[in-house]
């Protein structure tokens, strides 16, 4: 079965501004999207080598008090990035 891992669009700039907060900047449109610290953490793992489950596991390893439904939230977050063209999928055999 093919496994689709999310991968960040390399054209998008992750601009970490204050503490762990950041914006994603799309130079082609000039649009910017705000990211909270969890969003930044996830974005950095969108390297095509981590599936959503692996990302959530890493999140649980790194942070305390990760809620039960974090997996669903992470999935929705990645889907919303995909809809905006900020994330694609690399197919791995």
């Amino acid at each position: 079965m093919d496994v689709k891992n999310p991968i960040a669009n390399p054209l998008i700039v992750l601009r970490e501004e204050f503490d762990d907060w950041a914006i994603l900047f799309d130079p082609d449109t000039g649009n910017a999207f705000g990211l909270n610290p969890t969003g930044v953490f996830i974005w950095k793992l969108l390297d095509g080598r981590h599936g959503t489950d692996a990302i959530v596991n890493r999140l649980r390893e790194e942070a305390d008090d990760v809620p039960e439904d974090a997996g669903e939230h992470a999935r929705q977050f990645i889907e919303s990035l995909e809809k905006q063209g900020l994330v694609g999928y690399e197919v791995q055999p």
């Binding site: 054209l11 998008i12 700039v13 992750l14 601009r15 970490e16 501004e17 204050f18 900047f25 130079p27 082609d28 000039g30 910017a32």
Partner: protein, 369 residues
């Protein structure tokens, strides 16, 4: 106040050369006018560092950016390094080929063209014969190819009575959305030609009234960060605060005149990194030699500038007894340095008390619209 990890934007003098010699050019004979141009390879290397620093936007100025034969190569470097850009230009060297190229990059926020008159007389008198026609042609070329063209009008003694005509030309005949205004400041060549160029107090009054009236007429399609229109709005606000006997106004009463070095840095054409194009005498380092992020976060000169806003205006003998002291920002530090030799001082150029003492009169508040 929290500081971003890296600058968001860079203002780059990409060249020290220009095909014109405008009588009020702030660049030539200022400390920004230093050394020769760097080869494109140096800029391309620097853009890679900007990419690593997640800088998102670059302003190319000069001199005249379009004089560089390798400008396309430089812009390709900006695009490759995930940034957008804008160009400040006199407009006279823009041709179809360049406009097509700019449009194709899809990264150009705008090209700002200087148009100072509604007719050749009021533009060419300061910028040189034939420059009005060429600037207009440049503006139209950009528009024809879908490049967003912004216009800046610099107000001086020879066009202050042509403002109505300029607004009609730009907003009605050509149909641009809006334009910006400024006035010839006391920097660079303008200092040398001050008599001919800089508005007298009475002309300043005329400019303020006319611009407020036109801004109202054209529903806010005229704007300004400095110069008579910005002063008129700012000073009316200060006067209102005084009349109401307000204790203070937010972010006023200290040297809060400009905080641009919290958002961006500048680079001179010779590669020196400076806090701002108006403060180009302060060298913070050099591109491709010093680490931009370290300069941004740790340079003593920047720290000092960023603490400027803590200095109360009441500390200066210049402001002693001024009824506006709690409502004033002390204005631009670059102009202050040029005029009184100190960065940490209020600038006399945009001082309301001085303007009134010189016989100036504030416009009617009703003009604010």
């Amino acid at each position: 106040m929290r500081l971003m990890r890296t600058p968001k934007k860079m203002d780059i003098d990409i060249t020290n050369r220009c095909n014109l010699r405008c009588r009020y050019c702030y660049h030539f004979e200022s400390s920004g006018d230093a050394g020769g141009d760097l080869p494109a390879a140096e800029w391309l290397r620097f853009f890679e560092e900007l990419n690593r620093c997640a800088v998102t936007e670059v302003t190319l100025a000069g001199g005249e950016p379009f004089i560089r034969e390798d400008l396309k190569e430089i812009i390709e470097g900006i695009v490759r390094n995930r940034m957008r850009f804008q160009i400040l230009s006199n407009g006279t060297l823009i041709d179809d080929d360049m406009a097509v190229f700019l449009a194709a990059t899809k990264r150009c926020n705008y090209v700002q063209v200087s148009i100072d008159g509604s007719m050749p007389e009021s533009h060419d008198v300061m910028r040189g014969k034939g420059s009005f026609a060429k600037a207009l042609q440049g503006l139209m070329t950009l528009r024809r190819h879908g490049v967003h063209a912004a216009v800046r009008v610099t107000i001086h003694r020879k066009n202050v009575h042509d403002l109505e005509g300029i607004a009609r030309l730009l907003l009605e005949d050509i149909g641009i959305l809006s334009f910006g205004t400024n006035s010839a400041g006391a920097m660079g060549l303008c200092r040398k030609n001050a008599e001919m160029v800089q508005l007298t107090t009475q002309e300043r009054v005329t400019a303020m009234e006319t611009l407020l009236r036109l801004t109202k007429k054209y529903n806010g399609r005229i704007n300004a960060m400095a110069g008579p229109l910005a002063e008129a709005k700012g000073w009316l606000e200060m006067e209102q605060a005084r009349l109401e006997g307000r204790e203070s106004m937010p972010n006023r009463g200290h040297l809060t005149g400009c905080g641009c070095y919290r958002q961006h840095l500048a680079v001179r054409a010779d590669g020196a990194i400076t806090p701002c194009t108006m403060l180009s005498h302060i060298e913070l380092g050099r591109i491709n030699r010093d680490d931009l992020g370290e300069i941004w976060r740790d340079h003593d000169e920047l720290r000092t500038l960023r603490e400027r806003h803590l200095i109360p205006l009441s500390r200066f003998s210049f402001c002693e007894g001024c009824p506006y002291v709690n409502y004033c920002t002390g204005n631009c530090p670059g102009l202050s340095h040029t005029l009184v030799g100190e960065v940490n001082h209020p600038s006399p150029d945009a001082c309301l008390r001085k303007f009134l003492a010189d016989g100036g009169r504030l416009p009617d508040r009703a003009l604010l619209g």
